[in-house]
């Protein structure tokens, strides 16, 4: 079987298996479950890497700019090594239960969004790359922060209800989870802000092209609100005199959930973070990339089939 035939189902199944194996640790904590989960996730990661490379090679665009489908897969792809790294460093903590569901969500969502690639980005290509990279890293950070928030809240609930620790369900301490959560937010929000700033710059640059992009697009507004929610959380984290971990976890979860919902919903409903740009449709293949770079991959109807 050719590696190029690696399908989305391959790594989706691997991640689902890894998550299921992580879940079995709750019932019967054995090293074999742990190792099997890691192997499944690692296999899925390799398959996904091959899939992304194959698509990138086939359409001659980096995955970040290829299509909404590829872009969502990149977010999922980024979370997996984070899971593997933490899992290897902290073998007793079933961290996959908190991170893998997000990866699964992105992979599943990617099935329902456009796979049509963008055209070449010409002079704005590197700005587009930077824009997409900032956003993708920022969103991955928010997703991981969300996972830590869930972990915090479960641990918190256990401690408040004075329930003893279960052998297969050892979690990070509240102190550590709160710290990791804090750092995820503190790193992600500036990245997202840079993503938004480069997006604005690209919008401005597009005005000089034959296909100017208008900011008067509802998907821009929704993304902006999601970003604003995180900026407010960020500001509060940095300025609050004594934020309790539980409130931080809840706020992170709400803000992160909103961002996730925005990304996935916009991806599915409008075909990309910024929807199918009016200008892109009208522009034809040659200028599509310029419109697409304003946000994350737009889905020109005239693009090459995947």
């Amino acid at each position: 079987m050719s590696l190029a035939n690696t399908s989305l189902t391959c790594f989706l199944a691997s991640y689902a298996l890894a998550a299921a194996l992580e879940a079995t640790r709750l019932l019967r904590p054995m090293p074999i479950n742990r190792w099997a989960a890691w192997l499944a996730a690692a296999a899925g990661f390799v398959a996904q890497t091959i899939y992304l490379l194959s698509r990138s090679r086939a359409i001659d665009l980096p995955p970040l700019l290829a299509s909404t489908h590829d872009w969502l897969l990149v977010v999922a792809w980024l979370t997996v090594p984070v899971y593997l790294l933490i899992a290897l460093l902290h073998k007793d903590v079933p961290v996959g239960l908190f991170i893998l569901p997000a990866a699964l969500l992105f992979v599943i969502a990617s099935r329902f969004v456009s796979r049509e690639p963008n055209a070449h980005l010409d002079s704005l290509r590197w700005w587009g790359m930077a824009h997409a990279a900032f956003l993708v890293l920022g969103i991955a950070g928010v997703v991981i922060a969300g996972g830590f928030s869930v972990m915090y809240l479960i641990q918190y609930s256990r401690l408040r209800h004075r329930t003893g620790e279960t052998e297969g369900f050892r979690l990070f301490s509240l102190e550590r989870t709160a710290r990791l959560n804090w750092w995820c937010i503190v790193i992600s929000v500036p990245l997202l802000t840079l993503g938004m700033a480069t997006g604005a710059l690209l919008t401005w640059l597009s005005q000089k092209t034959s296909q100017p992009v208008s900011l008067l697009n509802w998907s821009f507004l929704v993304s902006g609100v999601a970003w604003l929610a995180l900026v407010v959380l960020f500001g509060w984290l940095l300025t609050s005199r004594r934020p309790t971990g539980r409130i931080v976890a809840w706020r992170t979860l709400l803000a992160g959930g909103f961002v996730l919902a925005t990304v996935v919903t916009l991806g599915i409903v409008s075909g990309g973070m910024h929807g199918r740009g009016r200008s892109a449709k009208a522009a034809g293949p040659a200028n599509v990339g310029q419109a697409a770079t304003i946000g994350l991959p737009s889905t020109p109807s005239t693009g090459r089939p995947s």
Partner: protein, 427 residues
């Protein structure tokens, strides 16, 4: 002689009940012994009162001289001013071999919440010494408690029960403290109290690498001793409120009749402090912190003795094999103790009975020898031996029966009958 114990422990009663029945100070224990002496003048008594148990061991002079289970329950109710209905169902009553086995299990820390904890031995020892000082114990309870301490030492040396996490503090910190804090070396630990419990907890926390230790106790002298021992600092009792607001780990190990810190006091302390997460381990019975302290804010994690029960059960499960070995030793020691006790109880009667029969036979032989002066010494000796054999043969069946009954612990009636039949008075 009869041995009995009336008790409630962490298995039979909630902390809310135990703390109402606890004898928190030596003073209250001495008053309790005095009261028991007035009510049951012929009984020996020893009270063991710890955070996990309140137990009254009694040895009445005769089985019908009391106190009964109801007598002890009434005494507890009246002494503490707690309605009988509030705790009667939580009390357990054991007699004779069960009572002995129970004390041995308690002293060997097999019955403890944290199996293998070392503190219980000194608590049992202290209880016994106090009973002795208050002249409440007697020959039977003295023998019982001395043997209990010896059994505890034997269990410790012959099993691995004392290895691993063997203190409530270690279990609490291991299961809850470590889930709150990642590390302890950058935390401030406040210990309220300077007794044995405080020392035990500090010993463990020190091993965990706690950073700053503050000891706050009513008696500064004791606080200084404990602080010196663990490299801590003494803080005046008046600073308690300020310290409550700034400490990360608080260990409540002070004695007292009622809780020291309620929600209002703690809230005020928290408002003045930095609001960081605080892990409170309340090892007192009565508790030092009222349960509503846990609701002061999101970052307060309060654990009392009962909160740790589930964790302690896991600890017990992990030591099942060692517990089983310890229980077998306890069973053996219980049988030996009861046999010794019975021997002590029946020995004097048997000796007196034997002596009195031999006295009678000697007197009768002297009469016979006086009437038959022609007997040679050899003839006399033959007759003496013959009579002695007759006496021994006649004594053998009743004494064997008595020994058998004594082994079974049901010798009291027979002993009494022998005393009356042969008019034997106690030596």
């Amino acid at each position: 002689m009869k041995l009995q114990v009336v008790y409630c422990n962490y298995r039979s009663a909630d902390l809310s009940v135990r703390e109402r029945l606890a004898f928190a100070t030596d003073d209250s224990l001495c008053r309790a012994f005095e009261e028991l002496r007035i009510r049951f003048p012929t009984a020996e008594n020893v009270i063991v009162s710890t955070c996990n148990r309140v137990e009254i061991y009694s040895a009445p002079q005769s089985p019908d001289s009391g106190p009964t289970f109801q007598d002890i329950a009434r005494f507890l109710s009246e002494f503490h001013g707690v309605p009988l209905d509030d705790f009667l169902d939580d009390l357990v009553f054991s007699t004779d071999d069960e009572a002995v086995r129970h004390l041995f299990a308690v002293a060997a820390s097999v019955d403890s919440m944290v199996v293998g904890e070392s503190q219980i031995v000194s608590q049992v020892k202290k209880s016994y010494e106090l009973a002795s000082r208050c002249e409440a114990s007697g020959p039977v309870t003295n023998a019982l408690f001395q043997r209990a301490l010896a059994v505890s030492a034997r269990v410790r040396s012959e099993t691995k029960l004392v290895e691993g996490r063997v203190s409530i503090a270690s279990v609490a910190v291991g299961d809850f403290g470590r889930s709150i804090f990642d590390r302890f070396d950058d935390k401030t630990t406040l210990v309220i109290g300077a007794g044995e419990m405080a020392e035990e907890t500090l010993r463990y926390l020190k091993d965990e690498g706690v950073g700053r230790i503050l000891v706050c106790n009513r008696s500064r002298e004791r606080a200084e001793r404990v602080a010196d021992q663990f490299g801590g600092e003494v803080r005046p009792w008046e600073d308690l409120d300020r310290l409550l607001g700034t400490a990360d780990v608080i260990v409540g190990a002070a004695g007292g009749d009622k809780p020291l810190v309620d929600a209002a006091r703690f809230r005020a302390a928290r408002n003045a402090g930095d609001g960081n997460s605080v892990f409170i381990l309340d090892l007192g019975a009565p508790r030092i912190f009222t349960p509503d302290v846990a609701t002061v804010d999101d970052a307060v994690f309060l654990y009392d003795i009962d909160s740790l029960e589930a964790t302690c059960l896991k600890n017990r499960d992990a030591r099942r094999q060692e517990i089983s070995r310890a229980e077998s030793l306890i069973g053996e020691e219980t049988a030996r103790f009861l046999a010794d006790l019975s021997h002590k109880a029946t020995g004097p009667i048997i000796r007196q009975l034997r002596e009195s029969w031999h006295d009678v036979s000697r007197q009768e032989l002297e009469l016979v020898f006086r009437k038959l002066p022609a007997l040679t010494p050899a003839d006399r000796q033959v007759i003496e031996r013959g009579v002695e054999r007759i006496v021994n043969k006649l004594l053998h069946p009743p004494l064997e029966t008595l020994k058998d009954e004594a082994q079974a612990g049901t010798h009291h009636g027979l002993l009494d009958a022998i005393r009356r039949l042969f008019r034997i008075t106690d030596p």
